[in-house]
């Protein structure tokens, strides 16, 4: 570096050009996100602080909407239901998906694994609506399951399997088994096989090898799947609407009611932000737990 150089060198000019080019390429995407994602959420946050007055119009800035939310037992109950349902769904789909993904990754020859995986996530490619509707059909009193149970004389009159929280959980678990199987498989498949061989070589039994080596190394896959499950599950409106019946409403359903029936956008905003906060807390907890699991 020449001391006192004030004229731009060719190098610094090229660097400046590169900076401009890079920013130029990235700018449209960033602008889109800021304009249509960040800004709307900020506006929504502002809305949540302007609760509807008695004249039905947004009032001055206050936490009134938040207070109303936490005061209303129906709302907090819905929040609680959402959290409980999400936890049940995350745990169930992880526990069920892990052996499934493990089977594909370890029991099947390499050639068939991609195909097996593709088949496993095939029903993934129906929309939420269609899939939940299909479960409604399967679970309904005239549906396939009742038909089979009646035919086998296991029951003597049709049972209403749908329109309750368990049906909602079933619908969710059905979807999230596929998602978690995908993330867990992707992780399992890139674990170096030499680790297991070395562990066996040092005397570990198959079970010990799994507990000490494979399981810890597959935690990232489990964590990603669990996080995606939390995000998608807690905010879903369709599945509980179709399968959940009228008791035990989940928060997204209450949000919809606020929008469509009460025309109360501020309250709907409050609810959406509360849900997001729950997800953020879950994310932080997961980060902390992952760091500890590493050691």
């Amino acid at each position: 570096m020449r001391a006192g150089a004030s004229t731009p060198t060719a190098e610094s000019r090229a660097q400046a050009r590169a900076r401009l080019a890079g920013l130029g390429f990235a700018l449209p995407a960033v602008a889109w996100i800021v304009l249509f994602f960040a800004a709307p959420i900020a506006i929504m946050a502002a809305y949540s602080l302007m609760p509807l007055g008695p004249d039905g119009r947004p009032g001055p800035l206050s936490f009134g909407a938040y207070e109303s939310f936490f005061a209303e037992s129906a709302f907090t109950q819905a929040l609680w239901n959402s959290v409980v349902t999400t936890v049940v769904v995350v745990v169930a789909s992880t526990l069920l998906a892990y052996p499934f993904a493990y089977g594909i990754a370890r029991l099947l020859p390499k050639r068939w694994q991609r195909l097996a995986l593709a088949f496993a996530i095939l029903p993934f490619w129906t929309s939420y609506v269609v899939r939940s509707y299909a479960w409604l059909l399967a679970l309904s009193p005239v549906g396939f399951i009742n038909h089979a149970l009646l035919g086998l004389h296991i029951i003597d009159h049709a049972i209403l399997f749908a329109y309750n929280p368990q049906a909602t959980e079933l619908g969710f678990v059905h979807f999230f088994i596929m998602l978690n199987a995908l993330t867990i498989y992707a992780n399992l498949v890139q674990i170096n096989p030499h680790y297991a061989m070395a562990a066996r070589d040092l005397g570990a039994s198959a079970w010990r090898c799994f507990l000490s080596i494979t399981l810890p190394l597959s935690i990232p896959g489990i964590a990603v799947g669990a996080f995606l499950t939390i995000v998608l599950c807690i905010g879903d409106f369709v599945t509980p609407q179709i399968l959940g019946g009228f008791r035990g409403l989940l928060l997204p359903q209450v949000v919809m009611m606020q929008i469509q029936r009460q025309l109360n956008l501020p309250m709907a905003s409050v609810m959406s932000l509360v849900l997001t906060l729950v997800v953020a807390l879950a994310y932080l907890a997961m980060q902390r737990w992952l760091k500890m699991a590493r050691l």
Binding site: F25, F36, F37, L96, L107, S127, V129, T276
Partner: protein, 265 residues
Amino acid sequence: MTGRMRWPGAGTALGAFYMALCYGFIFLPVIVLVLFSFQSGDLPAPPFNGPSLRWYLAAFADGRLVDGFTNSLMVGATSSALSVLLGFFAAYGIARYEFPFKRAIQAIVILPLAVSYLLIGMGLLVSASWLGFSPSLGTVVIGHVVVNMPLAFVICIAQLGEHQRRVEAAARDLGASTFRVLLSITAPMIAPALIAAFCLCFTLSWDETLIALLNTRFDVTLPVVILSLLRGGVSPLTNAAGSFIFLCSILLMVVVELLLLRQRR
């Protein structure tokens, strides 16, 4: 050093049984859906009366479904094209250049992946309402780009690695401008990934319900139409429409698989 370990026979049998159960569980609703779309009677439930295309014909004749279909097609195509375009350029900029706040910008671009659709849809609804825009398909397109562009970005940036960089450097060495390199070298080389990204975005947009539900009133997308069909009770019409959606999604994903597979060679 390779070595196939001996697996205890019982464990394998148990594993295979469990996997069969899982597959059965996963496919159960799909089988019910598709089977009873060919129902000839009025109820999409057992007993199954002979295969009939009656309900598919009814679906294609139903005005709302057809409108929903074309709307979904337009929204899907537009939002996917935009997602891939924006995602590709952002990936190129980040992969090839050094500039301040690069990490922050990358984080911003993939942020929507960590956020629920409810938040995105609500944000757009509230903003549109505040600005005085009435609900429309345009808002849905915007929302789908927000959701899908990070995916396109991630797919593209994976393709712009060292090997690709060296090829572009060779092109520049021979005198090509940045524009020329992008047009004649980069885009054709990663075309399969671009098309795969497009198809993936399209499929996700095609199936997306929440953002569409929140931001449309009269012109709606197909999943929203189906949701409203459900208010009228169950009917094989819904089965037929749902099976058709499913089939289209499958076809698209097969295209993606083929493209990505060929790319790997």
